[in-house]
């Protein structure tokens, strides 16, 4: 080995096949159904060496150039009439170009290309986050108007114009989602146990493949399925809360299966073998050893799955319908739901439209809060109860 030209110490080594996924991979798995069985907790990073030869721009140069561009662009844009969007876009584009030109003059073509692409990647990342920030800001600022006691205690029964609330929609959301969870969790966990502990041969391969495919079924198709199923038996006018739960189950089951399977996979085999060695039968080993060990992770996965389906609109629009008064019986008639409530309040606001549109934004705010609380709860559960797995 020759002399050490790069910072060897900087190169952190992580086993790329490490079996313990971090919470990030768990979250993305449940959220985006990513195929990340092999994800490592922290990304292994290979750092480029510091440049030893030739002229190099100082570390502050990229920021300095962009800041200078921002000032110049502010002057230019102010001269033709102030426009925030034009200023930001102009600064980003011209700043990138300026950086490339300066770097090319000082450091040469290859370094300049490197800086150019790094700049473009960071800019793309900022661009991807911009909608998130804008969306959260919009929902919070517009939803705050009706975020009051009446919203959480009144239904829309007999309400025209101002006032009214979404308590019927909140009940409906909780009941429909609760029923969907009751259907999905047993089936999902048992299927994951089959895949991880029993399955072999063609049935296992087919199930693994089609569970993945099912995560991509459009939600509206799940709604049509539930409608078709029930309308064959009860006629085409049927609208029930439980139909919505069935539709949501089609969406939720694959998520539960994938996350539970992942959690069962990281239970060490030595635990199973120790249990077998004590003469414990296989099913009692699964129930008494494997499941309790993975419980924190499984619950986390279920909570994230609930967070994903609680905001579904389309399948409920066609299976549960809309109603303006409280209905808490999922087996009898139409129910309301927060997401559908937000959609309907915005789409057909009536006269005058403003109160209804305000209610739509507040419903959206409540939905986002529920989803956030569920996500934070999931992370908390995983931190608190899921660490034994490591």
């Amino acid at each position: 080995m020759s002399t050490e030209p790069t910072q060897r110490e900087d190169v952190t080594d992580t086993d790329p096949n490490a079996d313990v996924p971090g919470l990030g991979s768990l979250a993305s798995n449940a959220h985006a159904h990513a195929e990340d069985a092999h994800t490592v907790a922290a990304p292994a990073r290979v750092r480029p060496p510091v440049q030893v030869a030739g002229k190099v721009l100082p570390g502050w140069a990229p920021w300095g150039i962009v800041a200078a561009t921002a000032v110049v662009m502010a002057g230019l844009v102010a001269a033709i009439g102030w426009n925030w969007a034009l200023w930001v876009v102009g600064t980003v584009v011209v700043g990138g170009a300026a950086q490339y030109v300066v770097s090319r003059a000082v450091e040469g073509k290859r370094r300049a290309t490197d800086r150019g692409f790094t700049y473009a990647i960071v800019a793309a990342f900022a661009l991807a986050l911009a909608p998130l920030i804008s969306l959260l800001y919009t929902v919070v600022s517009r939803g705050a108007a009706r975020f009051d006691g009446e919203f959480f205690t009144w239904s829309m029964r007999g309400v025209i114009g101002e006032g009214g609330g979404a308590v019927h929609a909140i009940y409906g959301t909780l009941i429909i989602t609760g029923c969907a969870t009751l259907i999905s969790v047993p089936i999902g966990i048992l299927a994951a146990i089959y895949l991880q502990e029993y399955g072999q041969g063609r049935l296992k391969r087919a199930l693994t493949f089609f569970v993945d495919v099912m995560t991509g079924i459009p939600s509206i198709v799940a709604g049509l399925f539930a409608f078709s199923l029930f309308s064959i038996f009860f006629g085409p006018g049927i609208r029930l809360g439980i139909m919505g739960s069935v539709a949501l189950s089609v969406l939720m089951i694959p998520i539960v299966v994938r996350s539970t399977e992942e959690m069962l996979r990281i239970v060490p085999n030595s635990l199973r073998e120790a249990s077998y060695a004590l003469g414990v039968s296989k099913w009692r080993t699964i129930v008494k050893v494997v499941l309790p060990t993975a419980l924190g992770g499984i619950v986390t996965g279920v909570v994230l799955a609930v967070a994903r389906i609680i905001g579904e609109t389309a399948p409920l629009l066609i299976t549960v319908g809309v109603v303006s008064s409280v209905n808490v019986n999922p087996f009898d008639g139409r129910m309301q739901n927060l997401a559908v409530f937000a959609f309907n309040s915005y789409k057909s606001p009536g006269v005058p439209p403003e109160p209804s549109i305000d209610r739509a934004w507040t419903a959206a705010l409540v939905l986002i809060l529920i989803v956030m609380v569920l996500n934070i709860t999931a992370r908390f559960i995983y931190r608190r109860f899921g660490t034994e797995i490591r």
């Binding site: 190169v11 790329p16 990030g24 991979s25 985006a32 990513a34 195929e35 990340d36 069985a37 922290a42 990304p43 292994a44 480029p48 060496p49 969007a85 290859r110 370094r111 290309t113 790094t118 793309a124 990342f125 991807a128 969306l135 919009t138 047993p186 089936i187 048992l190 299927a191 089959y194 029993y198 049935l203 199930l207 993945d212 495919v213 991509g216 079924i217 459009p218 198709v221 049509l224 399925f225 078709s228 199923l229 064959i232 299966v257 199973r272 039968s281 296989k282 609680i310 905001g311 579904e312 609109t313 389309a314 066609i318 809309v322 997401a339 937000a342 959609f343 915005y346 959206a364 996500n375």
Partner: protein, 315 residues
């Protein structure tokens, strides 16, 4: 050692004692049954949709909505669906790959993990809220850009105009869809980028490559099939996305490539969501038939994507 003992030992190595009591058989049956239920559900989706779509497929043309045959009813919707999803993919894929590279290779490790949580947050937001944001914020904000496109790039069929005054256009819909499918494309590509063998990356750097050259020479070739399959997964999502399109898009029946006007066809999913509550009789069957087409298309796209991913993961 008798032969039964050896059998026992081998089955323990495979993952369980050989002799199971009644409890074992019941539990195994339950687990297998749950798996079969899932497969049966997927088959049931296809079956029940076909059963309920059948009256529309066999009906005579004048009974159907629009008074023409079923194909003439579904085709504009299919066209709208494909257009919206294609543009969403064109916007989302380069952006997602850049975000994935940022998290896997550019960002300091300290902030990489929180940043990936933020991207996951994009996936957690309900689609109806994206729709509200699209019509209330992004649409109005894009009017100036749409007008600029009409004035300067109007010779392209996509930007023919006349530009919409509300921003409820196909281009804005596609942009909203792109934001919605960005997290899944990012998640899949990132997890593969991070698996790029270290020796390849270190080798490239040892030969004097800059960081971008290292990415271009090792990470991107390694992740190529992941980018393709992730794009297909995203395509599947974009094809089936309902509420954002239903809320944002201003619809007319025309088939046009004009992305900035207000005369675009709806998509299958959005059309179902908007028309279903007010439909009855054969119109419902026709909507379900269009849903069957959507189901078939997304099923094929997703199966293809999963096949590519599985092949990549096995390597």
């Amino acid at each position: 050692m008798s032969s039964t003992n050896v059998d026992d030992l081998q089955s323990v190595v495979r993952g369980g004692p050989a002799r199971g009591g009644a409890g074992d058989r019941v539990f195994r049956g339950l687990a297998t049954g749950a798996g079969v239920v899932i497969l049966a559900t997927l088959a049931g989706v296809a079956l029940f949709l076909i059963v309920r779509a059948w009256p529309a497929i066999t009906a005579s043309a004048e009974d159907l909505p629009g008074g023409e045959n079923l194909l003439a009813y579904i085709w504009p919707l299919t066209f709208g669906t494909i257009i919206a999803a294609t543009i969403a993919i064109v916007i989302a894929v380069p952006l997602s790959v850049a975000v994935a590279l940022f998290i896997s290779h550019i960002a300091p490790r300290r902030i990489a993990q929180p940043m990936s949580y933020l991207i996951d947050l994009l996936a957690a937001i309900p689609s109806v809220i994206y729709g509200l944001w699209g019509i209330a914020v992004l649409g109005p904000a894009s009017v100036g850009l749409l007008r600029w496109l009409e004035d300067n790039l109007g010779w392209l069929p996509f930007f023919e105009g006349p530009a919409s005054a509300t921003g409820r256009t196909m281009l804005v819909v596609a942009a909203v869809l792109a934001v919605m499918i960005l997290p899944i494309i990012t998640a899949v590509t990132r997890s593969v980028f991070e698996q790029t063998p270290r020796r390849l990356q270190e080798g490239a750097l040892a030969l004097g490559a800059t960081r971008w050259e290292m990415i271009r020479l090792t990470v991107l070739p390694f992740g190529k099939s992941a980018i393709i399959s992730a794009s297909m997964l995203g395509l599947g999502r974009a094809l089936g996305e309902t509420m954002a399109v239903a809320i944002v898009l201003s619809v007319s029946g025309a088939i046009t490539f004009d992305l900035i006007g207000s005369g675009n066809p709806s998509t299958i999913a959005a059309n179902i969501a908007l028309d279903f509550p007010e439909s009855s009789g054969l119109a419902v069957n026709a909507l379900i038939a269009s849903g069957l087409v959507l189901f078939a298309v997304t099923l094929v796209v997703n199966m293809a994507a999963r096949t590519v991913i599985n092949r990549q993961m096995r390597i």
